[in-house]
């Protein structure tokens, strides 16, 4: 009896004292303050995983790779586990995960990857346990990103990031009376944030090829992701969705869900591609081989007036030492006054431009079914995305972590913590949250073999951009390849998977 009492006292001393002491100490990890919750610093600190190893595959440094490694080393310190992280360039991430899956090799416990691959990976992923779904921080994730994390009815991915394409532009030009005058003189129109891709092109053309910011270097219209790698297809979808996604036509964007006939060579897509081909005229030198990094440096470095893609370029522009800090604003992607209606086979006119926000794939994470450390793996992901860490990561542009919880859409966070001016912060938050409210969304083609579909599309688009083929020819070729891919993988399988995407797009949930 005495003995028991003594050990209780000791354990109380051991556990309560350090926790109390360290509670003030977590700021050494770079966070402002620990946010209480299931996976807070304090809660993680209380766990002991010493002697165990966690293997993680993630993207290259810094985008997503750097926060993965950062929180991995924190996790090591707090729990005593050994965490191995491997960083892989984006183009090879899919196969590096898929080969061990197919070979039944337990290579990684935790995976960070592009959410569009869920169709291929889902058989190999461990569903997120209910206890992690019921946390406050998970409940705050917006509907879009819960949808993205879900396959069928099961949540198999752990949301760690919110991603979307939107328009970025330079306020110092748009708000400059001289520039407005000049634009009016050249086009007869008032200079305003473009509502359609045609306007985007017109403005970009006027502000292309001359030094409009007075730094001695020429400036250009638009920086876009055009290099034929695994990111360009997203830019293409952003550019075509307004023409091809009719708000009243249900039943599929990439395919007709009924027949699984590809729609990729229908006039809406062709029009979008034609615009993309023309856009090369107002890109910077080398702009038609820009990868995401180039786009970020180009717009973020003040070279171009416009850009659209993920948040990175915006964040680059807002770096502390940036020359164009607080001279940028965000807006929804341009729309179109004409939308192809595949049911009627006609172009429908819209007085208010049709917009179809593309809920671009983004970074997500998951735990492998084969893992022997599932408890630790989910704890790591939960710790990675605890609110203290997320608020920290959101502030570092190169991490590529973007708002995905309702709590992140508070302009004061950006103005107070990061010193953004009101316009930059409010347009940013408004654009982001606005996309969550849209009823005319386009999702990625989250079906098995998505890599084949996207790689085929990128090859076709790239041929059109290089002038090797006309847009129609190029997309006809893509459509033909898509048919073959569907047949190879199995029409029913693709259809079944695509139905879950269409259900999201048609707001059936």
């Amino acid at each position: 009896m005495k003995k028991l009492l003594l050990s209780t006292t000791i354990s109380t001393l051991l556990f309560s004292l350090p926790v109390a002491a360290l509670a003030q100490d977590y700021s050494k990890y770079g966070i402002d303050e620990d946010v209480p919750g299931k996976c807070s610093f304090a809660a993680t600190d209380a766990k002991d995983y010493s002697g165990r190893t966690l293997n993680i595959i993630t993207h290259a440094v810094p985008v997503m790779g750097e926060p993965t490694a950062l929180h991995a080393s924190q996790f090591e310190e707090l729990t005593g586990a050994k965490v191995n992280v491997v960083h892989v360039p984006f183009g090879d991430l899919f196969q590096r995960i898929m080969i061990p899956f197919q070979a039944k090799q337990n290579a990684y416990d935790v995976l960070f990857y592009g959410s569009l691959w869920v169709g291929d990976f889902s058989p190999y992923l461990e569903p997120v346990p209910a206890e992690y779904q019921n946390t406050a921080s998970m409940k705050a994730v917006t509907a879009n990103y819960k949808d993205v994390a879900t396959w069928g009815k099961t949540m198999v991915q752990f949301p760690v990031d919110g991603d979307r394409h939107y328009l970025k532009y330079r306020t110092d030009i748009f708000d400059n009376p001289e520039m407005q005058k000049k634009f009016k003189a050249e086009t007869g129109r008032d200079l305003s944030v473009p509502q359609t891709w045609e306007e985007y092109g017109e403005i970009a053309t006027v502000f292309n090829g001359w030094d409009w910011d007075g730094d001695g270097e020429k400036n250009y219209g638009s920086a876009e992701v055009v290099k034929r790698d695994d990111l360009m297809f997203s830019a293409f979808i952003s550019r075509v969705s307004a023409y091809a996604k009719h708000p009243d036509v249900k039943g599929g964007f990439f395919f007709d869900l009924e027949t699984m006939e590809p729609l990729i060579n229908t006039p809406g897509f062709v029009r979008g591609l034609e615009m993309f081909v023309k856009a090369q005229k107002y890109m910077p030198p080398g702009g038609n081989n820009f990868g995401l990094g180039d786009e970020i440096f180009s717009f973020g470095g003040g070279q171009t007036l416009f850009s659209y893609s993920w948040d990175d370029a915006y964040i680059q522009a807002m770096q502390k030492d940036s020359r164009i800090r607080n001279k940028v604003a965000a807006a929804p992607l341009p729309g179109s006054n004409e939308v192809w209606n595949r049911k009627t086979g006609k172009w429908d006119k819209f007085a208010t431009p049709n917009r179809a926000p593309y809920i671009t794939w983004g970074w997500t994470s998951a735990v492998s079914k084969m893992s022997e450390n599932k408890d630790m793996a989910f704890d790591y992901l939960c710790f990675f995305s605890n609110e203290a860490n997320t608020l920290h990561d959101l502030q570092i542009g190169r991490f590529g972590v973007n708002p995905y919880r309702t709590t992140h859409f508070d302009p004061t966070f950006w103005t107070d913590k990061l010193g953004w001016n009101t316009k930059t912060a409010s347009t940013y938050v408004k654009t982001l949250s606005g996309m969550d409210d849209s009823k005319n969304r386009v999702f990625d083609l989250r079906v098995p073999g998505v890599g084949q579909f996207m790689s085929s599309m990128a090859a076709g688009v790239s041929e059109a951009l290089a002038g090797q083929k006309t847009p129609q020819e190029a997309l006809d070729g893509v459509a033909e390849e898509w048919r073959q891919i569907v047949n190879r993988i199995g029409k029913e399988r693709v259809k079944k998977a695509y139905a879950t995407v269409v259900a999201l797009e048609d707001n059936l949930r």
């Binding site: 293997n55 993680i56 595959i57 993207h59 290259a60 440094v61 810094p62 985008v63 790779g65 750097e66 926060p67 993965t68 490694a69 950062l70 929180h71 991995a72 080393s73 924190q74 191995n84 992280v85 491997v86 960083h87 892989v88 360039p89 984006f90 090879d92 590096r96 080969i99 061990p100 070979a103 090799q105 290579a107 990684y108 270097e217 990111l231 990868g291 995401l292 990094g293 970020i296 440096f297 973020g300 470095g301 003040g302 070279q303 990175d312 680059q316 770096q319 030492d321 940036s322 020359r323 190169r398 590529g400």
Partner: protein, 281 residues
């Protein structure tokens, strides 16, 4: 006339030197930049044109979020490359000696075919072999291990050793072997007592080639490891993100090419000695 010739000659040498050294100099200056130093366009001179920073270099030697810590990959690369090169050199040299001195026959297969078999291993692009190698190493539980990579690299490097050494042995007069045998050496003794001691230049070149191709392989190191074993190129390519940090990438490039460049200067006298068997003829 002679002056003009000299002028052209040295111009050509300097021009090529600039072409060769350019990327390294660019990497050197870039490694001290930050993202602001990049986005403002090409700059070359620190302090004058941009504010230098050691961030790019720091990344290489830190663990966790801020860095990729290339120390472990460095040691792993050294271990794998040196072991595989040594094994390839031993096996390749023996095989090359055999092929250059004796005639083998198995059915229609003769020396030339065996030699071609060795050399032809180089024709296969790594992509062809990556998945079969994956499954093979998996069967032996050697994925993500140094030993697994060493095995694969031996297949990659032995053809190089065979190729260089066959050429080298062809330049050693066969009479030297015969004299040794007449003096009482069996073939194996002949090889170890007489031929091998005279092979230093050939071995240096073959070894250097093995080290070059082993050290610089990316694909297999990439495909056949997960997290426990990481070789240098894989660690460096971890910086090839969608937003490439030019500065740390440049620093890591310089660090990773350094050992072989230093080695090249060390073994210079063997590289440009000319006929590798010069001492014998």
């Amino acid at each position: 006339m002679l002056g003009l010739y000299r002028f052209l000659k040295y111009s050509a040498i300097l021009l090529w030197s600039a072409f060769v050294a350019g990327p390294f100099l660019w990497a050197l200056t870039t490694s001290f930049k930050t993202s602001e130093g990049i986005v403002s366009g090409a700059t070359y001179i620190p302090w004058l044109q941009y504010k230098p920073s050691l961030d790019g270099w720091g990344v290489l030697f830190r663990r966790g979020g801020q860095g990729i810590d290339i120390v472990d990959p460095y040691l792993a690369s050294l271990t794998v490359t040196l072991s595989a090169s040594a094994i390839s050199l031993v096996l390749g040299t023996l095989a090359a000696y055999g092929l250059s001195r004796f005639s083998y026959k198995a059915g229609p297969i003769k020396n030339a075919d065996i030699t071609f078999f060795f050399i032809s291993q180089r024709i296969m692009p790594p992509i062809v072999l990556s998945i079969p190698f994956f499954l093979m190493l998996q069967a032996f539980g050697l994925l993500d291990t140094k030993l697994g990579l060493i095995i694969v690299y031996v297949a990659l490097l032995m053809p190089i050793a065979v190729w260089v050494m066959i050429d080298f042995f062809h330049n050693i007069p066969v009479e030297l072997d015969e004299t040794a045998m007449l003096d009482g050496c069996r073939p194996v003794e002949t090889f170890f007592r007489v031929i091998l001691p005279n092979c230093k230049p050939g071995l240096v070149v073959a070894g250097l080639f093995c080290l070059i191709f082993g050290w610089n392989d990316f694909f297999f190191a990439f495909m056949l490891t997960f997290t426990k074993t990481q070789l240098l190129p894989v660690a460096v390519v971890a910086l090839n993100s969608s937003v490439t940090p030019w500065w740390s990438l440049s620093a890591s490039a310089l660090v990773s090419v350094a050992p072989l460049v230093i080695l090249a200067f060390v073994v210079e006298k063997y590289l440009s000695r000319g006929n590798l068997a010069g001492a014998i003829k």
